[in-house]
């Protein structure tokens, strides 16, 4: 198979008719101010999406984004400009705008050969063409039928299918060239069920850096349809959620959004360099219970949050953030690593060429512990068992974070009883982490659905965890 770098060169340089001489000219311009670092990020991204609603294929969209982002960095100052036109005059104009961040001049550096031998974590394929249109739509219709057949209370079914083929090329001031071809697919089923005039929704899906046949393996897609229906039916029976402090048991997998919010963002390098995080200056200190080991791992093959190289060309890594409760590492991009004198960790990510890179998570999860999940539930007299969540948010400065359960149950006398309505859980990151008193042996990663937002930029991420128990957390229901 052709290497991603070669494919990226063909798409992003040969396609628009740019050569190394032109790139050197642009880089020279970027470097003609006194800058510490500079890079150019070329991107060509194709996206195709389909929506089935009301039993018909209602919408389809095809989208192309292309452009180049040029950045000059001087100390902790950044100049940035981008263009949608991959032609020399526009690139030179953008370089001129970006370099204005620094004043005095310096001479450019020579372009050197590309870097190689980075392990490829996914195939450089085009997922848009991995199934025929007929096959894509047939799959969606099959899920609609399956969801409706699963229960007569199902009233509405919406299925969405998205495939992205993203090609990027990074050229930095050292003349290093890195390229990546990133497939990404996502399928979602959401349903509305009705019973005695009450309506509730359920939603399930998954995704990966794979071809679309990912969804056909092991009836994966049908699993989403069944799961969406199951959730909606559970919610039809849900009673008011409790309000107040309770022991909370979180199920495995997607509830790992806890870690993403409670510790993940707070351990991103930029916040810690600036001293704005509740975790700032706490390296080497105990910030979680000794049962907790949390990692950020961009190297898991085919995962939604994985990257062979990050958006600055740094190979993805497995970074230990917290080991047995002790803070061990931050997630870094190049600029923050340099300014903090710390190693780069391959976490420099950006939404697109039109955005600046910054430290972002990849796949963030907690390693398994020793407890049987049943034992964990049995240990709770009165508490909440939450297995599915919507989004979350964190104030990294105060450490306060929330995440919203959309499938949860009461635990009474060590047994799971009634389902409860969705409720927001709120806590303080460092505090909640020290209250983790049991960790299960059942680590799961999420099904490939996560999207993380930071400073207006969205990137795909993964989360995961084993079943775990937090001794006390505020549950935001209405039943007092």
């Amino acid at each position: 198979m052709t290497q991603p770098l070669e494919l990226a060169r063909q798409t992003l340089l040969d396609g628009p008719g740019l050569n190394e001489r032109a790139l050197s000219q642009v880089m020279d311009k970027l470097l003609s101010s006194r800058v510490d670092a500079a890079d150019m990020y070329f991107q060509y991204s194709r996206l195709e999406s389909w929506v089935l609603d009301d039993g018909i294929i209602k919408e389809g969209n095809h989208s192309i984004e292309q452009g180049a982002g040029l950045r000059a960095v001087s100390g902790d100052k950044t100049g940035f400009a981008y263009t949608d036109d991959l032609v020399l005059p526009q690139l030179l104009e953008a370089a001129d705008a970006a370099r204005a961040i620094a004043r005095a001049g310096q001479s450019g550096r020579e372009m050197i050969a590309a870097r190689g031998d980075v392990p490829q974590l996914y195939a450089a394929l085009n997922p848009l063409e991995s199934l025929s249109e007929q096959e894509k739509l047939e799959l969606m219709r099959k899920l609609d039928a399956a969801a409706r057949a699963a229960d007569p209370r199902v009233q509405q079914v919406t299925v969405s299918l998205v495939a992205v083929h993203d090609t990027v090329l990074v050229i930095n001031d050292q003349g290093q060239l890195a390229g990546d071809v990133r497939p990404l697919v996502r399928l979602n089923v959401s349903v509305i069920a009705e019973q005695n005039g009450r309506r509730e929704q359920g939603s399930s899906g998954g995704g990966a850096r794979r071809a679309l046949d990912f969804f056909l393996e092991e009836e994966r897609a049908l699993g989403y349809a069944r799961e969406a229906v199951r959730q909606a039916l559970v919610n039809l029976e849900a009673v008011d959620a409790p309000a107040g402090m309770l022991p909370v048991v979180l199920g495995p997998g997607w509830p790992g959004v806890l870690l993403h919010e409670a510790v993940g963002h707070g351990l991103e390098g930029d916040f810690n360099r600036k001293g704005t995080s509740a975790f700032s200056g706490r390296m080497g200190e105990k910030v979680a219970s000794a049962l907790c080991t949390v990692v950020d791992d961009g190297t898991l093959p085919d995962r939604r949050g994985s990257l062979s190289i990050d958006d600055e060309g740094t190979p993805a890594q497995h970074t230990v953030l917290i080991e047995n409760g002790v803070l061990k590492g931050y997630m870094q991009d190049k600029m923050n690593a340099r300014l903090m004198g710390m190693p780069e960790t391959g976490n420099g990510r950006r939404e697109s060429y039109a955005h600046l890179p910054m430290p972002r998570m990849t796949n963030t999860y907690m390693l398994p512990g020793e407890h049987d999940p049943q034992e964990i539930i049995a240990s709770v007299d009165k508490g909440l068992y939450a297995v599915n969540f919507g989004g979350g948010q964190v104030d990294i400065t105060s450490g306060k974070f929330v995440f919203s359960a959309n499938e949860a149950y009461l635990i009474e006398n060590g047994r799971i009883t009634a389902p409860v309505k969705g409720a927001t859980l709120i806590g303080n990151g460092p505090e909640a982490m020290t209250r983790i008193s049991m960790v299960g042996n059942d680590l799961q990663l999420d099904s490939g659905v996560g999207t993380c937002g930071k400073e207006g930029q969205s990137v795909p991420v993964g989360v995961g965890q084993p079943t775990l128990k937090i001794d006390e957390m505020t549950v935001g229901g209405t039943a007092t």
Partner: protein, 442 residues
């Protein structure tokens, strides 16, 4: 942006529509935009980032009878026009016959395009922008000795040109600008660290609040949070500060949007003509507001936009529909393709201090966290921070609590809307006093 550029974009829309017809579409619609801007951030007195933004894009939707397909790209060159139309046509070969699909009705097209005074470009360079941001951050940092750190102050300015056309022969476009200044600072007291922010935005550079005012307000809000604590779980009245109240109106709007209704996924299903608020509540929409942050002379389908009442006497008067949703519901479009433009709820006249007196004892919410509102059921549960109020006076700052209820009850339990709006944005509302919600804490 100038008239010449509008002409260029109109040409591209014309080319897209002509190409769609050539490739066999029975009708089509297309939009093109170009946006330029500058974003400058100053942190701890030094320029941190200078970003030049420069976006463009075109999008086309083609109809083959009742089947449709759409495509878009950031490339505006002639070859991209052809390829994008071809991509949309390819999609349309696979979508289903949908009786509700199609352009908005020809007679609904805006016949004239009023000038809403939305275009006030700011000829400012990065150095000048940094100067304003620095003044803002300096004011915040000087305001209180407990302000020890900063996320910086940012000045943002952008100019947008947008042209839309469809095969009814409608074509319209207009330039608009948007400027904003924001500041976020941190305060420390012992081990506790808090952060808050403030901002101002306007269509006109001179419409922005003075830089030092924004900085001081950011600092004031941040320092006020020091000493925050949790409270016991309770049920009490809740006052949502004016800058958060738009979120509650957005929940209303989300629940009366077309897709929520025809999918029966709304807690306000079949509530048209029914009381959903107390009888004094009036909510209107004015898309033609001069210099309004969400104003538009026509909607995203070329349909005339006009002022209307969404709620009058507490009764729901209309939904938020585009032509597709309207056909699904057997109704007429409300000119809301692209959303609600400049919603406003009438105030009951109280100042913020008067609202505190009326709240008497309860929670004043000044920050919300997370999503946590379910528009299918109306169930509402979100993270919050703010202040505990006793006998009409602010007693102490509160954090790490949730406020929960059902939006249906919250709307019916609305006791007052303050005359205390500081930020004239796309949703204009004062603070909301709600009779009773569950506050979960310790």
């Amino acid at each position: 942006m100038n008239a010449g550029e509008i002409g260029q974009l109109q040409q591209i829309v014309g080319d897209l529509l002509a190409e769609a017809e050539k490739q066999g579409a029975s009708s089509a619609e297309a939009g093109v935009h170009r946006q330029r801007g500058l974003d400058v951030t100053v942190r701890l007195g030094e320029t941190e980032t200078i970003e030049h933004t420069n976006d463009q894009g075109l999008g086309v939707t083609v109809y083959f009878g009742q089947r449709k397909g759409s495509a878009n790209t950031t490339d505006l060159r002639p070859q991209a026009v052809r390829e994008t139309v071809a991509a949309a046509c390819r999609i349309a070969r696979h979508t289903s016959e949908d009786p509700a699909a199609g352009l908005a009705e020809a007679e609904m097209m805006a016949s004239e395009i009023p000038d809403l005074d939305l275009d006030h470009p700011w000829e400012i360079d990065a150095l000048q922008a940094a100067g304003i941001a620095r003044e803002c951050e300096d004011a915040a940092r000087a305001h209180d000795t407990r302000i020890h750190n900063s996320e910086g102050a940012s000045l943002h300015t952008q100019s947008t040109l947008f042209v839309y056309g469809n095969s009814h022969g409608f074509i319209g476009g207009y330039p608009s600008t948007r400027h904003s200044l924001s500041c976020a600072v941190l305060a420390q007291q012992g081990d506790e660290m808090q952060r808050d922010y403030w901002y101002t935005s306007s269509r006109i550079p001179t419409g922005l609040e003075p830089a030092h005012t924004v900085g001081i307000e950011a600092a004031r809000r941040t320092v006020a949070r020091l000493g925050s604590r949790k409270i016991k779980t309770t049920q009490c009245p809740v006052l949502f500060k004016a800058d958060l109240a738009p979120g509650l109106l957005r929940s209303l709007i989300g629940a009366i949007r077309g897709p929520a209704l025809y999918r029966k996924a709304s807690f306000l299903l079949d509530k048209l003509g029914e009381p959903i608020f107390p009888d004094w509540v009036i909510i209107d929409e004015n898309p033609l507001l001069r210099q309004g942050m969400a104003s538009a002379p026509f909607d995203n389908e070329g349909v005339t936009t006009r002022p209307r009442k969404i709620v009058d006497g507490g009764v729901l008067q209309g939904y938020v529909l585009d032509s597709y949703a309207a056909r699904k519901l057997g109704m007429q479009t409300t000119g809301n393709a692209g959303g609600v433009r400049n919603a406003r709820i009438d105030s009951t006249g109280e100042s913020f201090e008067e609202l505190l007196k009326r709240l008497d004892t309860g929670l004043l919410v000044t920050e919300m966290m997370g999503q946590g509102s379910n528009l299918v059921t109306g169930d509402y549960s979100r993270g919050a921070a703010g202040f505990w109020v006793e006998n009409g006076e602010i007693a102490f700052p509160v954090e790490e609590v949730t406020v929960a209820g059902n939006l249906r009850d919250m709307f019916q339990g609305l006791l007052a809307v303050g005359a205390d709006n500081q930020i004239p944005g796309s949703i204009d509302t004062g603070s909301w006093l709600i009779d009773r919600m569950t506050v979960a804490g310790d």
